[in-house]
Each structure stands twice: as structure tokens, then as C-alpha cells.
């Protein structure tokens, strides 16, 4: 397509010889250093391909041996080294000591938040909100096994009714109907009495009959007035928090067939420092009890 290179009358410059519909292009040459800079970037790219993994070919790893995964691992090791002194301190401290030290406490709260999200939130929900069907809220003030720092830590360490930890919290509630300890009518009466403990009985006569049965069968664990016993993991039946539902059908089911929530032992899975951080974090969710 280039035609004739002419000198433009107005500017005194040459044209490139290109012409479109009578429009000719002036030649405005690029400085040579510009094109040399471009060549330099090509050389740079070639060097890059030799040094680093740049080609989508198996084995084209680059002579420096650099990998994205290796860089991440290096960074993780570096971060772990940075955290090591803090984690050592957390490992050796009691939860009370951690809470008393502002630096340790802040570290434990931040680390506990992450560890909780990774390990606990699956059952207990984000922020410890709990879930229906036996996953207790950790943000309220109702504790089955105790809400003090040490009690929370022990529950995390050993878990509840699991088979992997000798020290797991292990008490079981009898299945009053299934095991033949109570008859269906008696279960109904006890349920009415239990509802009455929180002021919700619908049948005063049945509740009255249930009181005696409750004293005989339940009070040894749940207490005479149903306030619960944390040593036994027997929940408070007189409050407004119901782990398995507080309507009559749910209470009847609990008495008849019992409930036995399970939680794994975490001392076998997590670093003691992480368990300590989790205890401090859970304690600070809003329901932690003072020493």
C-alpha cells in the first residue's frame, strides 16, 4: 500500500507513503532510544522466563527455584516465628493471668476469634450464637458445665461425652420412659412440673403430681428447685434458656428419651496456647462469669 514518499509543503516533513482516501500520513519518527527501551523490556522478559516459573509447562520451574507456594510457606514460617514468643507465654499462663495482662489478652482475643471460627463455629455458630438441637449458645449467661475461665477451658480441653478423652465430661441422663423408669402419664406430670418451674404449667393438677416424681427422680441432679448442677452438667430448668426447645413436646421428649450432647476433646487437636486463647475468647463473648 505505501505509495510515494513525498515532502509535505506545509510542515516540510516527509510522509510515510501511506495514503487513505487522499489523506497522507506525516512521518513523525519515534526516538531510537524508545525502541531500544522496548527491546530492553523484551530482554528483561526473557531473563524473567529463565529465572522464574513463567511458562505453563510442567518442569519449567525457573533456575531460581522460586515458587508461589514456597513464598507463602516462607511467609508463614516467618509469621509463626514472630508469634512464637507470644504463644509460648500463652502456653505457660493460666487463663486468669492472660486476662490480667493487656497484651496477652488482646492477642488471645484476636487469636481466639480465628481459632473459634476454624474449630468451633461449625456447631456453636459465628460469635457463639448456638444452634437449635443441642449446640448451646456461648454468648448467653446460661452454662451447663460452668462459665468461669477454668471451667470453660476444661470443657474445651476434654470435651463432652466423647470416647477419645478419659477426662471428658461424661454424666448421662437416664431415659426415663425408654428405660422403664417412668410411665407415660408420669412423664407428662413431670413435664408439667418442669414447665411450672419457669411459670408455664398448663395443668396445675398434673404439675402437682409431677412435683413428687421430680423430687424422687430428677432433683438429685437438677436440684430440688430445678436450678441445675454444673458438676453433673445438669442444666438449669427454671430459666428461659432451652437447649432442646422449651415447649411441652420437647420437654416430654427430653424426659422420655434423655439428651446427651457430644463435644470432641480439643486438647488432642489444638496447641494448649490455642485452647487458652479460646477459653479467653469464649469467656469474653458476653456470658463469662467472674472468678
Amino acid at each position: 500500500m505505501p505509495t510515494k514518499i513525498e515532502k509535505d509543503a506545509v510542515s516540510g516533513r516527509d510522509t510515510t507513503g501511506h495514503e487513505w482516501d487522499g489523506i497522507k500520513e506525516l512521518n513523525t519518527p519515534l526516538p531510537k532510544w524508545w525502541i531500544y527501551t522496548f527491546y530492553a523490556t523484551i530482554v528483561f522478559a526473557l531473563v524473567w522466563v529463565v529465572l522464574y516459573p513463567a511458562l505453563p509447562i510442567r518442569g519449567a520451574t525457573g533456575v531460581t527455584g522460586w515458587t508461589a507456594r514456597g513464598a507463602i510457606v516462607d511467609e508463614m514460617v516467618e509469621r509463626a516465628n514472630q508469634q512464637a514468643p507470644m504463644l509460648n507465654a500463652l502456653r505457660g499462663a493460666t487463663p486468669q493471668q492472660i486476662v490480667a495482662d493487656a497484651d496477652l489478652r488482646n492477642f488471645a482475643l484476636a487469636g481466639g476469634r480465628v481459632a473459634f471460627a476454624n474449630n468451633c463455629a461449625g456447631c456453636h455458630g459465628a460469635g457463639g450464637q448456638g444452634a437449635p438441637g443441642g449446640f448451646p449458645s456461648l454468648a448467653d449467661d446460661d452454662w451447663i458445665w460452668g462459665g468461669k475461665l477454668d471451667q470453660i477451658r476444661d470443657t474445651i480441653r476434654h470435651g463432652v461425652r466423647n470416647t477419645e478423652d478419659e477426662a471428658a465430661r461424661a454424666t448421662m441422663m437416664p431415659r426415663f420412659l425408654a428405660d422403664g423408669l417412668l410411665k407415660p402419664a408420669q412423664v407428662n406430670d413431670v413435664a408439667e412440673h418442669v414447665l411450672g418451674l419457669s411459670g408455664r404449667a398448663t395443668d396445675p393438677a398434673a404439675a402437682g403430681r409431677g412435683a413428687a416424681l421430680f423430687a424422687e427422680n430428677c432433683a438429685s441432679c437438677h436440684g430440688e428447685r430445678g436450678l441445675g448442677n454444673r458438676e453433673m452438667g445438669a442444666p438449669n430448668l427454671a430459666d428461659q434458656v432451652w437447649l432442646y426447645g422449651g415447649d411441652k413436646a420437647a420437654v416430654v421428649h427430653s424426659i422420655a428419651y434423655a439428651r446427651a450432647g457430644v463435644m470432641p476433646s480439643w486438647s488432642t487437636r489444638l496447641d494448649p496456647a490455642v485452647v487458652n486463647m479460646l477459653a479467653v475468647y469464649v469467656h469474653a463473648l458476653g456470658g463469662g462469669e467472674a472468678e
Binding site: P29, V241, G286
Partner: protein, 494 residues
Amino acid sequence: MGRIDPADRTAPPPEPSLYASRQKVYPRAVQGRVRRAKWAILAFCLALYYLVPWLRWERGPGMPDQAVLADIANARLFLFWIEIWPQEIYFLTGLLVLGAIGLFAATSLFGRVWCGFTCPQTVWTDLFMWVERKIEGDRNARMKLDAAPWSRAKLARKAAKHAAWLAIAAATGGAWIMYFQDAPTVTREILTGGASLETYFFFGLFTATTYVLAGWAREQVCTYMCPWPRFQAAMLDENSLVVSYRAWRGEPRGKAKAEGIGDCVDCRACVHVCPTGIDIRDGQQLECIGCGLCIDACDDVMRKLGRPAGLVAFETLANLAASEAATTGLAPGPVRQVCGMKARQPVRFSRPRTWMYAGVLGAVALVMLGAFLLRDTATLTVLRDRAPLYVRLSDGALRNAYTLKLANRRRGEAALALALDAPQGFRLVVQDSETDAAGRPLLALRPDGVTQWRALVTAPAGLRLAESTPVRFRLLDAEGRTVLSERSVFLGPK
């Protein structure tokens, strides 16, 4: 390349190439009014650049005492008594907007004064050329030296020049670092080898760019790299004062003693002093940075010839056209000169364009000033916990949790009491806080920092609540006045 030597117009067309070698420019030294102004501005700009990091400003214990400091590590920008936090970076944006509009306004009034007088590329190139002239001599000596074969003397001169350039470049790169780190400390660290790798990297980077851009690239930066010359034409109009050759007076050019010849004696002094190597007599062109050195060069020649100065001058295109029209047909000589100058109108600085720039400039400046004067010295942010939305307590009460963030830009220690505007019976507890005499939580403010608190609000059992109840957190000073307040909601079951 736009530079065409008039002598080349008759030469046979060269073999066309899409790439051209750079024509090295050897600007000659020049004296005069514009040059003096340029030296003064150069001295001022360089002094500002090199000395500002050394200004001290007492800010109290634990705070940097450098007057101007961009503290990246601690995310603070210090400007004397002003302290900018990252979330206030729009002040910096506003300054850049002001700078851009100011540039447009200055260009529409006086042409490319920024390029010619204050642009760092021009200032440092001028400084480097001054050093070059001191070591290698003026234009002719430099051309001769470059053309001469390599010898010990030539090598010595070239080495001395590049050493001096590198020294200036290193000082420039070092000064740049000082805007980001404490100047005395980082200077000592750089000199003793104790600075961080990043510091040396940026020190080297800015040293190298200064050396390359001001020593080697020079006018190539303005012509090929800088976007500003490409669209400056949009700011210019026929009433802008730009460096112009008064062709109506100078043409036809020729020998001083020849008959019927204009005032231009074609001595090429204007071309020889030009830092971008162009001929101003070709008219407005992209490469002209508006430095006005050709004015000084031409005035000097005119004075020697006993002719009026101002053959090359800061002149508007409108006046050029008026003079041209008034002198058409007049023979060269004093009459033409007087008629042409008489036809000039006073420069119209007051134009819709300049008023618009002034208006926008004033509006942005006012908005920024207002925002700056009204900016809070402390801010309260309330984040409601979303998991759980609410907590049912054993006695049937409902509880919501909130994260309060208190950013305090003042430096004094202070504590503010937190009050809650909510329906009767709501209780407010802030974890880890002390309480004042009235039982309200006291939130300690960290000087120049952010503190975070977790507030628990409990609605008593039995209260009939809508799903969402508006609440308001208020921070009270010691006299009980509300300093800050922030709205939120209290959520309950549907």
C-alpha cells in the same frame, strides 16, 4: 521530530525512517531578565525541596518532631500543626485537584509557565546544565569536546561532570527519602550503612531517575514522555501570554546592514539558547516549554544593534494578529515597529475561561477549607454484632452487643462517659471499662489513636419490644455535654 532547520528545506529528502536518532542539544548560556527570574525560582524550589525535611516541629513525647513527614509505617501525614489520618486522604486529593485547576488557570493566562520555570524536570535540568557548563564550558566548547577524540583531558572532564551529576542526584534521592523518614536519623543511617534495604532501594531509584532524567533525557522527557504538552493546547487561547516571535517586525530576516530587511538578523541566538533545541520563529510548537530564554537572547542582540527589545516576547496570539494586520504593506523600519506596537490591545486576563477556572478554584478551596475547619477531632463508630443478632438470657432478658470504635486525633489524655438513649429499663455495660460517679461507663481515649470497646445492652424480660428499637450512644465530657453521638438499633425476635 518537529525540529526542522530552515537550511534543510532545500536539501534532498533523506531516506525516510520511522525511527530517528536524538539530535543532542547544546544550549548556550544566556543573561537577562527571564534568566534571572529562572535562577531565583530555581534557587527557591531547590531550597524548599532540600531544606523542608530538616524543619522541626515539636509535637510532644512519642511523636515525630519533623514538620513535614509522610509517616507510612504509622499511617500519618504530618504538615506542621496539621495531622492527616488515612481516612482523611481526601484532603490530599483536594490539594491535587487544586493543583490541577491552578495549572489550567496559570496556563490559560501565561502559557506553559509551569513547564518553563517550576517543573522539577526543568529545575533539575537547569541545575545539571549549569554544572555541565562549569566543567565542560559553554555551547561551542562542549560541541568541540564531544567531537574531539577521546583523550585524558576529555575523560577527566566527562568523569568530573558525571560525578557532580551523581552527587546532586544522590542528594535529591536522599532528600526524597527524608519526606518519609526522620531526616537526621535516615541521613545518618544511609551514611553509616545502617538503613533498611527498602530505604537504599528508593534512595537508589530516585538517584538514578534524577541522574538519567536531568542529565541524559532532558528535553526528551518533555517531548516524548510527558502527557501535559499534548493537551496543553486545550488551555491556551488567543489571549494567553505565550513566548512568541513577532514575525510582523522581524521578517523578512537577513543581514543587519542589508536593505528592506526586518529586525531579525537571523543570528540564531534564540535557537542556540533553547533547552529543547527548537526555533521559536517557527511559531507555537509542542516542544516549546515556555521558558523564555530566547527572549533574553534576542533582547541582548537587539540592544547591541540599537534596536528596541521585544522581537521575541511574552505576547498573545491576538496581539500578534493585530500587529500583523496593522503593519501589512509597511516597509521594514521604525514606522512599522511603532505602528505594530500601537495596534496591540491590553492583555485580556479577564475572560470567561479564566473566571471559570477562578470560580472552580475558589469553590474547591472553600469546600476544602470548610471540611478542614469542621473536621472532627474525634469520631465514634458503632458496629452492631450480627452474630448473634441478639442473645436470650436465663431470666428472659434480651441482649445486643455493639463494638464501639473511638478514633481520637487529639493528643491529650481524656476519658468520656458513655450514655445510652433507649427505652426505660435498658441497661448498658461496657466490657473492661471503669465507671464514673453516676455509674456510666468511662471510655479512655488513646491520644492520637483508636480505642475499641464492646458494649452490651440488655433489655429487661417482659418488655414488649418491636423487632427493631432505635437507640443512640452519646459520649459526654466531664461537664456532661454531649461530644459525639451515634445511632444504632436494638434487635429482638420477630
